[in-house]
Amino acid sequence: MSERDTLTALPGGLAPADWLDEALLIYREVSLLEGTGLETQGLQPSSTSRFREAGEAAWMLARLRHERQRSGFVPLAIGRYLRDLAKAARIELGPVLAAFGIGDLASQEPAAIRCLARLCRNLEMSVRETFVHLGLGLAEQLGVEPSLMWAARARGPAVHRDSLEESEQALRRSLARGGDAAIASLDALETEVLAAFEG
């Protein structure tokens, strides 16, 4: 029997089974991740820098997350809250903001709000917590932030859920003082926050 005869006589025909193809693909790709030396081919220094910066941003985010888990929800405007977290975590906030495409913490542009909400999501904040932090930022911009007395009370030993609910109510009351335009801005902000969490 020639080599060609043997080929056609193989059980299952010429083509390997789909499942075998998939098993070999999985093996090949996991092996690649385990390290084969092939991955550095064609890699530019700029790519190396990007990966390094991504690793550094991940570490800073992990530190921020850890600090946030420790401190829990505190009803502060997003800018102040993130700066306080970064200070407590002893990290620089700039690279983290840059990693999320955030240039100005006070910006109320829809795209900027969505980037901030994505960062909040990565810090494992809930949608409601994110809404309050960003809403307080908006209230601050409009000069209708809730009173400090309320904020101090909310920072006290109250149960977290109550604190969050109280913050949401106080935020909506404050924005109502700003008129229809302020309410519309809050609604727009809520839409962007929801989009960031759904995306």
């Binding site: 098993a23 092996s31 385990e34 990007r50 990966f51 690793g55 570490w59 530190r63």
Partner: protein, 205 residues
């Protein structure tokens, strides 16, 4: 000669996973420098352009490093298999988001990995590794060149092994058949033998 079941590199990766979970700053840097280029290469192999692959790899470096605390080593499992599972899902999400008007790849997976998926991937990798180790050295070499470590054309394999191209092709298919027979009897391969269940969001060809 058959390769050791657990290479030093794999052991180091398990240690790296432990260090990531403790928020060791150097571990995050090491993870990025090791896995960034590997993920990029993986995504290029999967059909993304160099720029697309690099952007997705950068995003995965951050996401996966942040999830490292969720990784738990299981018997036969590996950190690389766990990373692969998450990366594969990130790729599926990327395809849905960026190429929704094109036909999606046949092996597209659900947006989020299930908890048992990394263990299944690890088991498949271990089954293939052990089955290959049972084959004659010449078959192992052929499979490494053609299927396991690279995708060399038959002409190149024939040159390296001093064979005729047609002979190389036949010997390769025989080696695949032996591997197939060994794997069919392995219960760890069963998840691949079951009909695929497609998740929502992905259209099939």
């Amino acid at each position: 000669m058959p390769r050791p079941a657990v290479s030093p590199a794999r052991t180091d990766l398990e240690e790296l996973a432990r260090r990531l979970a403790t928020l060791d700053e150097a571990a995050f840097r090491e993870f990025a420098s090791l896995f960034g280029p590997r993920l990029r290469a993986l995504f290029i192999r999967s059909g993304l352009s160099t720029t697309e692959a690099e952007d997705l790899a950068v995003s995965c470096v951050t996401d996966i490093a942040l999830k490292a605390g969720q990784y738990h080593q299981v018997p036969g499992g590996s950190f690389a298999a766990w990373v692969f599972t998450i990366a594969r899902h990130a790729l599926a999400s990327w395809w849905r988001k960026n190429r929704s008007t094109e036909e999606l790849p046949d092996d597209l997976v659900a947006p989020e990995p299930g908890p048992e998926e990394a263990a299944t991937v690890s088991a498949i990798v271990a089954a293939v590794r052990e089955a290959v180790a049972k084959l004659p050295e010449a078959d192992q070499r052929l499979l490494r060149l053609r299927d396991l470590e690279s995708r060399e054309p038959y002409a190149e394999i024939a040159r390296q092994m001093s064979l005729q191209i047609e002979t190389t092709r036949v010997r390769h298919l025989r080696a695949l058949q032996k591997l197939r027979t060994l794997l069919e009897a392995d219960p760890r391969i069963q998840p691949l033998l079951r009909p695929k269940q497609r998740s929502s969001g992905g259209s099939s060809k």
